[in-house]
């Protein structure tokens, strides 16, 4: 098997002021090649004004076994949302 060909994750900013959005992945042997490959694969139709590529192996994600432990405790904290609070009628700008 050939070595050296790495997978990179591609993030595109559509225009200044917007967040970078994950677009997919691309291949490349080195950084310059990866960003050029990402440009040619994901922005041929003017989809972006800025690009990031990150080696896929640098992405850290929550292990599947722990996903309930990570995310379920955040579901029932209703007081973190504005709709939890009752404000009398007639009070504005809250």
């Amino acid at each position: 098997m050939e070595s050296g060909d790495k997978v990179w994750e591609v993030f595109i900013q559509k225009k200044p002021g917007l967040a970078f959005k994950h677009a997919g992945s691309c291949h490349g042997y080195d950084k310059k090649m990866a960003i050029q490959n990402a440009r040619d694969l994901y922005t041929r139709r003017g989809e972006g004004r800025a690009l990031w590529v990150v080696p896929s192996e640098a992405i850290v994600s929550v292990p599947l076994d722990d996903s309930e432990a990570f995310f379920d405790p955040g579901v029932d904290k209703v007081y973190r949302h504005a709709t939890f609070y009752k404000i009398p009628d007639g009070v504005d700008h809250l």
Partner: protein, 309 residues
């Protein structure tokens, strides 16, 4: 049933998407790898029959359009290889499977493109059939595949129109051009219909794929949709669909057609089409002739890259 399997079944039942890090049955993963890599290989091998006319495109416009289209196909192959990679297979492995004959690609690309009108027929019929299939696959249950299909359908919207535009030029051009257009339709009609795969009753993988919602609509259903759309388009061109039994069935609202030549289909699938050998040889040659380039890129990266792998 453990909680992971239950979670998987829930996702399928509720029409949600399975994501790469979710648990999935091994057979679901294998089925997807087979289907997605075959889809990717089809995009890539599909570059060749069109590439055959790229250097001979008869106008600056058609040359640029065809090149952009072939380039999209390379891009779509890459999107699909990326999807397959999320299932735990590498690009090198997929390439090796293509070269060994273990992985298949759509048989349609084993037919030769003989005249410029074939660029019209390929875009109109072959891309047209692929688009019907891909639109349906936008609702597939595997998230990355579904998202890939959405992107691909958006980009491919010009491909079929490009083909039909050529058919219009040819069908309404000189008598020689019209003859070429009819000849191209004659040669590509039935192979394009067989792109949807065997009849539902004979399709080995279909029912499990439908149950897992990898496939959302059956082969025959998609094929009929394509026929119903395409016959009137052929009539507009003043061309004759090469099937004496094509006619609108008033009861069903669909076009009837003759039985297909499945012997030919399976013979081409099994490697005996007009260009099977040429397509694979071309792909292997490009790969092997350039081994030194990839080695150089790897050596250069090893010397210069500071990111730790």
């Amino acid at each position: 049933m453990d909680k992971f399997e239950k979670a998987f079944n829930d996702i399928i039942e509720k029409d949600l998407k399975v994501e790469p890090r979710d648990w999935m049955p091994e057979k679901y993963r294998k089925t997807l790898i087979r289907q997605v890599s075959q889809h990717a290989h089809s995009e890539i091998i599909g570059m060749q029959p069109e590439g055959n006319w790229l250097l001979r495109a008869p106008s600056l416009r058609s040359k640029q359009v065809l090149l952009a289209k072939i380039q999209d196909e390379a891009g779509h192959g890459l999107y699909l290889y990326s999807v397959a990679e999320t299932l735990g297979i590498t690009r090198q492995e997929m390439n090796a499977q293509l070269h060994s004959g273990k992985a298949k690609y759509s048989s349609i690309f084993n037919y030769p493109t003989l005249t410029w009108a074939d660029m019209g027929a390929v875009g109109w019929l072959v891309d047209g059939a692929a688009i019907v299939n891909q639109v349906s696959l936008q609702r597939t249950s595997y998230g990355p595949y579904s998202r890939g299909m959405v992107r691909i359908c958006k980009e491919e919207s010009f491909h079929q129109r490009q083909g039909y535009e050529i058919m219009v030029q040819m069908a309404f051009g000189t008598p020689e051009q019209k003859e070429m257009a009819q000849d191209a339709l004659n040669r590509f009609w039935e192979p394009a219909l067989m792109m949807f795969g065997p009849h539902d009753a004979d399709s080995a993988h279909s029912s499990q794929s439908m149950a897992w919602k990898i496939k959302r609509e059956s082969n025959d259903h998609l094929r009929q949709r394509f026929i119903d759309r395409t016959v009137p388009q052929a009539e507009f061109l003043g061309l004759t669909v090469p099937d004496v039994n094509i006619k609108l069935n008033k009861e069903t609202g669909h076009y009837d057609h003759s039985p297909f030549n499945w012997d030919e289909f399976w013979n081409v699938v099994n490697g005996n089409g007009p260009c099977n050998q040429e397509r694979l040889d071309h792909h292997k040659k490009a790969h092997h002739d350039n081994t030194w380039v990839r080695e150089a890129a790897a050596a250069f990266a090893a010397k210069t890259e500071t990111i730790v792998a």
